[in-house]
Amino acid sequence: MNSMWLIAREEWRYWVRSRLARVSVLIFVGLIIASSLFSTLQTLDARHQRLHQQEVAEQTFLSQPARHPHRMVHYGHYAFRPPPPLAVFDPGIDVVTGQSIFLEGHRQNTAMFADARAQAKAGGFGILTPAMVYQILFPLLLIIIGHDIVAREREARTLAPLMGQGVTGITLYCGKALALLGLVGVLALPVLLVSVMSVLLGESIPAGLFLTLTYALFLTCWSALLLLVSFAFKTRGIILAVLMLFWLFGTLIIPRIAVATGDASFPTEGKILTDLRMKDDLREIGDGHNDADPTFSKLKAELLAQYNVGNVEDLPMNFRGVVASTAEARLTKTLNDYAEKRMERESRQSRIIRDFGALSPFLAVGHASKSIAGTDLKSHHRFLREAEVLRFGYVQALNEVHAGQIAYSDDINRSSDQGAEKRTRVDPENWRVLKQFRFETSGTNARLARAAPSLSFLTIWTLGLLGVGVLLARGASP
């Protein structure tokens, strides 16, 4: 126990005195600080901007003058997605998915890049997120500092005097492991700081804690690999080569294979093809602006029978409004079917990539991190669904106003009769049917549950590497 401490302390003293260790830690920590600062400023700005723009959009909608409700359906509205607090550390897929959607009648628009300009302003630095520094570069730092943790002693022939003092292979392993854990502790400080900051910004404490632990676990996993390889091979060159190969496979090759496998298993139908099929489906729904469209004749007959009248003019509601509402409902169902299918396919692909985390700690930590931060695909899909609920809600509410407050005769004559046109303008009070929209990050438990499979991969990797490492260390000799 005491020897273990001594060995760890000695390793720390060596690192403090080693120029290579000092300089590389400085460079990498400088990098993480710079990228955290950039990311913080950018994310906070985006968060502020989008919350503000959401309010402005609502104000603008509400302050529209009296007009025909269907014009408001087309006037449209916006849904913004403010980044969650932990996006400061890991913006996840949010950097490639849109963060705002233009909402209007009869259409589901795709999300737009709200922060494309912000990205450009950051001079591309925004691409190097703190999460990426941790996932890609910190393993390299560990390799630089730790690849010779045993080999150095072997080369300098200090292993013989060391073990001659009664230090067993296991003690040596534990001492070196403790030294690396200390380094991991230091390297985990930046993510801890960012997590604390996120908690101050409203993130839950467990989420911040788990994000920090996730990265500490990832770095521990790498330390375990370093130790295993150090005890498995005797020469520095081979150790370095094995570690670099592992990094290359885990970080570059397996993720590529994972993405390719995901694509191949659930191929994305060509966008043009899907669009064409969707257009066909939509054509059958009929044009909601034209109550004479034959697709609505059944609806017309039913209504006439229900109210026992002979003419649409005699219905107690505006038939055009009913048609608009019915068409919107049918169209939305079709659009949602397509959207759900697309999201289902994306989810399956992303699950395959997640499961490849069993082969690559890099993929595992990436998935866990995004899930905890709330910047994963699930969160994006939820945003799309909630924005759609908002869209459908206000469009149908306006259609109800259309059906209930405007006389059919005024409606059909409004282009020829100025008086009729005036009467089709409804009071702006009606614009209040628009619901307030504030997108919230999923609850902590849901996010942690999503991260659980990847966290177990990381844990299994770490325990496995530690176990094999200890076995190898048992037979260590100078």
Partner: protein
């Protein structure tokens, strides 16, 4: 019998490097193991420490079997490895404190200085990092470490290699006085003259075989010429 080795066979990388080696050392004795390069001298010490597992044969150090209880053996043995180097980024004090700490010893500065005086390491160099030491200076610190371990058994692999003639004489005196205190010393060396000066017994190894054995008569030393001749005739590679 403090150390006993009987019918020891050792293989390294599939090659037999010790063949039917037997010897024993009593308490307070100095045993010198002589032999050409690659004869198996260092291998013998590594086996006694349990670092190398023998193929056949029996070994005991203070009644313990190093094969089954290496930790117990290492705890009672001060081992000076061949071409010992300590940490270049530490000074002599730091090195000694560290290695003694690993063995469970806490030694004060005065005691460290005393040991470094014994091996005659110049005072001003002691607080310099060992990367600036000459080979002989490093060897002196390693010897000081073995002395400071205060162990009943010392296994020394070429302790005088790199030392100047005066330091070698000092060292030989040190070995005699340690033995006089009742310590048992097994020493590997290429220095026939030195071996004859300090050893009660001398064993001659040649390519893994014990080919010669000399024992000092009471109150006398082993004759250097005898050993020299035997070495040239039987032990040369």
């Amino acid at each position: 019998m403090t150390i006993s080795v009987s019918n020891l066979f050792v293989e390294r990388s599939g090659k037999t490097v010790l063949r039917d080696v037997s010897f024993h050392i009593d308490k307070g004795e100095v045993y010198a193991l002589l032999g050409g390069n690659g004869a198996g001298k260092s291998t013998t010490l590594l086996s006694l420490l349990g670092f190398i597992k023998p193929g056949k044969g029996q070994m005991h150090v203070l009644g313990e079997n190093p094969e089954t209880h290496p930790a117990k053996v290492r705890a009672s043995v001060a081992y000076l490895p061949e071409a010992a180097t300590l940490y270049p980024h530490l000074d002599a004090y730091e090195n000694l404190e560290y290695f003694l700490g690993l063995a469970g010893f806490k030694v004060g500065q005065a005691r460290l200085d005393e040991a470094l005086d014994t091996v005659d390491l110049q005072q001003p160099a002691r607080a310099d990092r060992m990367e600036s030491y000459s080979k002989g200076m490093r060897q002196k610190v390693a010897i000081a470490l073995a002395v400071l371990r205060d162990a009943p058994v010392l296994l020394l692999d070429e302790p005088t290699s790199g030392l100047d003639p005066v330091a070698i004489d000092d060292f030989n005196r040190l070995v005699r006085s340690l033995a006089g205190d009742g310590r048992t010393i097994l020493m590997v060396t290429h220095d026939v003259y030195g071996a004859c000066q300090v050893a009660n017994r001398i064993g001659l190894l040649r390519r893994g075989d014990m080919v010669g054995f000399f024992e000092a008569k009471a109150g006398q030393r082993i004759h250097t010429e005898h050993v020299h001749r035997a070495f040239a005739e039987r032990a040369a590679v």
